[in-house]
Symmetry: D2
Subunit: 267 residues, 4 copies
């Protein structure tokens, strides 16, 4: 690679933002050129993440940062409220957006794709940049052609509000596109404790475990007479998402248009 | 041991009975003296289980078998319908019963204990002779003093009718005697798919997985910030119960009275 | 399917042969037309496997069985000694061979492929018909592109003679074709107990666990900062191979030539 | 409890020290009265760990801190070099030492016990304060009476220098005190890749897996025909040790003498 990819990080003081700053500072083919956050004041971004000072000072105005630092790519994990406006702003400045958030309608994505096409740049919107989680989902879907009897067990922290997790539902959807339709279990099955058989999805079951100290884990168990195939992904902390973010930063340099979903980058 | 323990097997052609016959024929301190079953006719019991002929022929009358073969111990897995009468008959003949079945009321057990006391012999009634399952339950209960946040996941074949399993409920009861009472999970937690959080028991959850090819497995997961303790027991087939049956045959020779529950033999 | 696939089983009284007979009798699109074994005498094959009599009697001459029963496919798990001659004989009679054995040289396979081409029939030779094991290997290899840090743990019965298992070595080979070359672990690492770090293969490690009661299990653990991806296959008994054998019986009807390795049938 | 336990933390800016400070500030029955570290300067200890300021400023002289803050208990994770002198100093001031380090000879411990007896105070020295790890070891040892066939698999980060881990060796020792002596595996077993069968310890095997992103995990697998019992402890980060440290702080208030090994506090 002739020159480094110039990267700006918006939301650089958030939990994910801090990890992204660390990642950009560590990747040899990337250069951190700007960090934007409202709350920290003008701190050095290297110092902020516990590394050596890097000479880039946090600023608080996104557009000004774009104009002054001229990034190739912006990584933004600020969340749904500002998602569309931030993405659109980046594209207008010819900066490739890597957006780690939900909250886009399909019209939004269509519109942003048109803007990317006009500017001849790439972009990606993805709720999940975990390569491991995507491989787990792909493998489970592929295997369900041969192993149509399966259940999903997902594990998260005990303060999580919703069950089952977004990843488990996404997995179930991907499996359902491949798996031969069938209702598993004995039709005369009875629960003596309600809910013990888990949540019903398209013929199979999803179980949500909630315990302290667990970040995010999921296992897809597939079984037939005499054998079981188990595909499991354990995330221990936010570092798990960084190889995916780094991959996305590199990939958006190579195509034109807006991609929705990180799975399109994984073969 | 001076002389071998003389063992009769009632229900010797059933799935568990065949395993018991094999076990008694293999244990150096035991002698198979009788096998009783209605359906097989007068076959040699060794041949029946795929071993060398052993010279003991299947008969069909329980009492006659007791009188003629004078066993020290009878192992009986014939099930609830004949449980009380078979046990009582054995005791009357001074034979120590090892009964692998449910279906006894507490009055039944009291009565049978009285009969054992009179005859000065021991006996045991137990729904489960799995040493591994009992260790799992004991350890989970002990650990719940330090790890009060826990969930149980149990796995059985996809044709099982009831959920959760008897073993998981027994485990939950044993844990509840030790564990500090608390309702786990976020109080504002919401299920977007009903049942995904599992069955509620005394503040924690039980999840029942049903898939083809699985005999009986259970995991108790206990977690606190930064760590998880997992205790798991996997049974692949009925052979799993045999070390417990052999232990019971030896133990009933050593005390007087009727014991209910195999856990009393495991320390 | 207009008419059923006519299947002969050679080595029908062996452990795998008995399972194959059961499978052929159960699949609605297959018809058992012959069973060959030296030791059993003229028993009914259905009775032999504990099902209803099927009207096919065991014979002991392979060629005679071929001539009289006119099978479309022969399934043969008799082992390396007779592998080549049995395969060649089947092809000469225009019968598609499904051979579950090792012991073929690459010249053998080339020669048999030529014979298949002449007769315009298909055939397959495979040491392993486990769909689950093949999916595990494929997924592990695919994932190793993104997760180059990995180790393999395989579990077999405590009487197995060789370590590591053939499947784990095959897995390691398939991974090595994809994975970026690197020597894992700290270069200054020291074993205080020799062998604790496992067997070295191409930069990563293979661990062989040997314990009673385990049939065949394997886990590939792949990890990067913050996450782990685990792909595991557990076989409990020979039934695990039967969906693969059934798939092979159907597949050999559809192409011409000799295929080596069951993985070519799994996408 | 009438009044709070006054706690000093020595080595308060180290990785474990920071966790201990957080724990002491969070436990309702404890009061942080001093923090000692060489490198940080006079920072507020609450601020240092990302909590609200607590009014206790870091100092750099251990003895001065003891004199001025009059702690009931000192928690010290500074390591082997200063272990004996720090412990002895604390006892001389009547402060109960909770020492998280190795590096004591048995004479050291005897001497420190005498000093504790004279001052009528309690103390503890322990290389490991993980309640979960200790339960795993205790349960594995107990179960090995019934499950003498077992192997240990331990997982640590890929930069760890020694294999197998200290915890796995401690586990093996505790098992060996209970387990019937026997050499597992087929006596004619052969390794085609050296080391694949793991490290040999007293008849059984220890396997050390080293991969990035893993903090500390261990599984003891015990198996007999038809069943397996698995006891596993996963630590994700240093928070795992804090419930044990808190328990130790409370316990040393209740007895006289020096205890070696945290397992004595767990029943």
């Amino acid at each position: 690679m002739d020159r480094k990819i110039r990267v700006a990080v918006v939301g650089a003081s958030g939990r994910m933002g801090l990890e992204v700053v660390k990642t950009v500072l560590s990747e040899p083919d990337m250069e951190l050129v700007a960090g934007v956050a409202r709350s920290t004041g003008p701190v050095d971004l290297g110092t902020l993440v516990g590394l050596a000072p890097c000479g880039v000072t946090m600023t608080s105005d996104v557009e000004l940062a774009f104009v002054e630092s001229k990034p190739d790519v912006v990584v933004d994990f600020t969340g749904p409220h500002s998602a569309f406006s931030h993405t659109s702003l980046a594209i207008r400045h010819g900066i490739r957006p890597v957006m780690g958030t939900t909250g886009f309608t399909s019209q939004d994505i269509e519109e942003l794709d048109k803007q990317c096409q006009e500017k001849q740049i790439g972009g990606i919107i993805a709720p999940n940049f975990s390569i491991g989680a995507i491989l787990m989902m792909k493998f489970a879907a592929q295997a369900s052609k041969y192993f149509p009897n399966l259940e999903i067990i997902e594990y998260h922290g005990d303060q999580k509000l919703d069950a089952p997790s977004g990843t488990s539902i996404k997995t179930a959807e991907m499996i359902s596109e491949v798996r031969e339709e069938r209702r598993q279990g004995n039709p005369k099955e009875e629960e003596t404790i309600e809910g013990s058989r888990g949540g019903y999805y398209n013929g199979f079951r999803i179980h949500s475990v909630r315990l302290p100290g667990i970040f995010a884990q999921q296992e897809v168990i597939m079984a037939e007479p005499g054998q079981a195939l188990k595909i499991r992904h354990d995330s221990y902390d936010r570092a798990a998402y960084m190889p995916g973010v780094a991959l996305a930063v590199r990939k958006v340099m190579t195509y034109t248009g807006m991609v929705y979903g990180f799975e399109h980058f994984i073969d």
